[in-house]
């Protein structure tokens, strides 16, 4: 259904990772805040107290602008999610509820938490990596849905 994923030369993920880590470092050293997108999304809606709602909104809108402009300049094919409507909805609910219950996502636990060797973040990252890999295994190799 989908063309084979194009090979991505190693320097793109390395360069991208350095940008992401630098952004996290800036937010910590200048604002004293963790770069955690799920927490910032909740805070920007007023669902996490004690945060500057405007600062969180600005961060999220800027990240969307940064990604959009970069994508335009890279001329890569725009590939979005390929899951059907039901899976998109179930997946979105799981990601939204799970990140709030677990206090973080790939950025907050994965990038910031691992960098400061937080035991909670190490545990959370191990768990979500495992359940994500198991889910992909079940969907692709047991149920046989390939994309």
């Amino acid at each position: 259904m989908i063309a084979t994923l194009a090979h991505l030369p190693w320097y793109w993920p390395v360069l991208g990772g350095l940008c992401i880590g630098t952004a996290a470092g800036m937010l910590l050293l200048f604002n004293g805040r963790i770069l955690g997108v799920s927490g910032m999304a909740a805070a920007s809606l007023g669902w996490a107290d004690g945060h500057d709602r405007t600062a969180n909104r600005l961060f999220l809108v800027a990240s969307m602008a940064g990604a959009g402009l970069t994508y335009l300049m890279l001329h890569r094919p725009a590939i979005g999610p390929t899951a059907n409507m039901a899976v998109l909805i179930v997946g979105g609910l799981l990601v939204g509820y799970g990140t709030r219950l677990g206090s973080g996502c790939t950025s907050g636990h994965g990038v910031c938490g691992l960098a400061r060797l937080s035991p909670r973040s190490i545990a959370a990252t191990g768990v979500f990596m495992c359940t994500a890999a198991i889910t992909v295994y079940v969907v692709r190799h047991i149920l046989g849905y390939t994309s």
Binding site: N31, F59, G66, V87, V95, P119
Partner: protein
């Protein structure tokens, strides 16, 4: 000034997501698909993100406050509880199903608005459900 930093950091974060192709759910699922054609990109992203991030945490240890705020707002809990583990487990399932976590999902609203919007609305609804069940902020 904190808001100015937020804009700069947000831009840089978004640029990083796009350069590394983490905005592409197939790239992410190819990393998670250890039994298929494995793509190491996400591991490279995380490792290289940890370098400046860990460096910043080392600098933070020698400072009493951030540049533009009175104090650091950093979680102090070290307790690994059921909420943390079950939340992470549920998040991982959703992440594996679609290939999107919150940062890339928002970025994809700009790059591939449809059907990303469906996922983002569901994600916000999921956050809302958690808020309804837990009125006190965690």
């Amino acid at each position: 000034m904190t808001r100015f930093v937020s804009v700069l950091a947000g831009l840089l974060f978004g640029v990083g997501l796009a350069l590394s192709d983490m905005v592409n759910p197939q790239r992410v699922q190819a990393f998670l698909d250890v039994a298929g054609t494995w793509d190491p990109s996400l591991a490279l992203v995380m490792i290289s993100a940890l370098i400046p991030s860990a460096l910043a945490w080392q600098i933070r240890r020698r400072r009493s406050r951030p540049v533009f705020d009175q104090q650091f707002h950093v979680p102090t809990s070290r307790r690994i509880d059921t909420a943390l583990l079950s939340g992470a487990a549920l998040f991982g399932m959703g992440w594996g199903l679609v290939g999107l976590c919150p940062g890339p999902a928002l970025a994809d609203l700009v790059i591939v608005p449809w059907p990303t919007l469906v996922f983002v609305v569901a994600m916000i609804a999921g956050m809302g459900v958690h808020r309804l069940l837990n009125p006190r902020p965690s």
